[in-house]
Amino acid sequence: MIGFDASLLGALLREPGEVSRRCVDERDLAPLAATSLGTIACGCAVFGAVVGCFRGGTQIPFAALKMPVARLAALAICGPAFHALAAVFGRPWSLRTVVALGLAAGARASLVLLALAPVLWLVIDRNGRYDAVKVCAALAYAFAGLAALWLVLRALGRGSGSTITAAGFVAVFLAVGGQTAWILRPYIGEPSDAVVPLFVSRQEGGVADALARSARAVVGVSERR
């Protein structure tokens, strides 16, 4: 029943059109779902471990565990919303198709994260600052997101409603994925913390606000408080 099919990894990277068509046709979805789940777990775990390397110690396994959990939780929450959006805009796909598509896109993104992990590792190894590491990790996530989006766009085709459906998918996933990741933070660990907590309990504002603050810090704009 569960089987990791390594040949699907190549297809996820090189043949997104074929993978998306397989999802839409509901063809042989169980191996695709199993492989995608495994890829998301491994890819995100490796990327998480690299992110955790900034602080080292227990932060490495914590981040390695939390990254895949955040990604999978976001996909699980988004599934029904994607299903509804696709149906509203002329693609009455089954829930299995939508979940398979989400998993395949997530797996593609995870492979990109895996590929970018050494780059982030290099930044950390070259004594990159906390904010620089945060922005690099966010950029890696953005690249991974684009790779996932490409697979989804291939599934949506060029017919009417494809742009708005894709925009809806992106909006929902950004909101849900961002918030899920935010709940499970920290992944890097603030330099000011003597001991990095497993979860942050204090109020800190939203995801967008934190990213903007880090970007300002990287380009040297002082913060007004």
Binding site: M1, D25, G90, T97
Partner: protein
Amino acid sequence: MNLRDLVIVHGLIGAACAVAVYRQTTSTRRARLASALVTVPLWPLWAPFALASRERSNQSPAVAARIEALLRVVVEAAQGTSLETVLTRSAARHLGAQVRRVAARLAAIDELSSGTGTTARHADAHARLAALRARHADALHEIAELLDALTTQLGLLRLGELPPDAVAETIAEIRSRLDALEPVSGA
């Protein structure tokens, strides 16, 4: 409900799904156990696949369902235009029947493809099945795209921004693509 309550409820649903997965799937004991264990935390993502152990080979693929939905939209969109007499409900039913025949053939190909074999003859047969499948699947996807375009064209026709001939060309193309598959699907 706090995060802990949510995790407990998630786990309880996952445990119930895991029992269903273990009882309903028909593979080896170890594979069933592994599938059930994965279901506990990942039931929203894994249960839809684990509980549908046999692919729905006897049902139309999603693209066929999409085409049938688009045919209904096209008939509605043609109402009140000069092509109302061409794009009738009866014509849509005929096209829908053709699409279902192609979809049934696709399902039959999938059923044949699920067989395992490692000899060169098996590999050759699988390659031919894959090519045949790709031909039929591509045709269905192209027909869906053409129907989508036809809906837009009918809107433009209604607004007087497109001549009826241009729309008729698309209709003819859809028919010819389906007819091209018909001799094969009727074999």
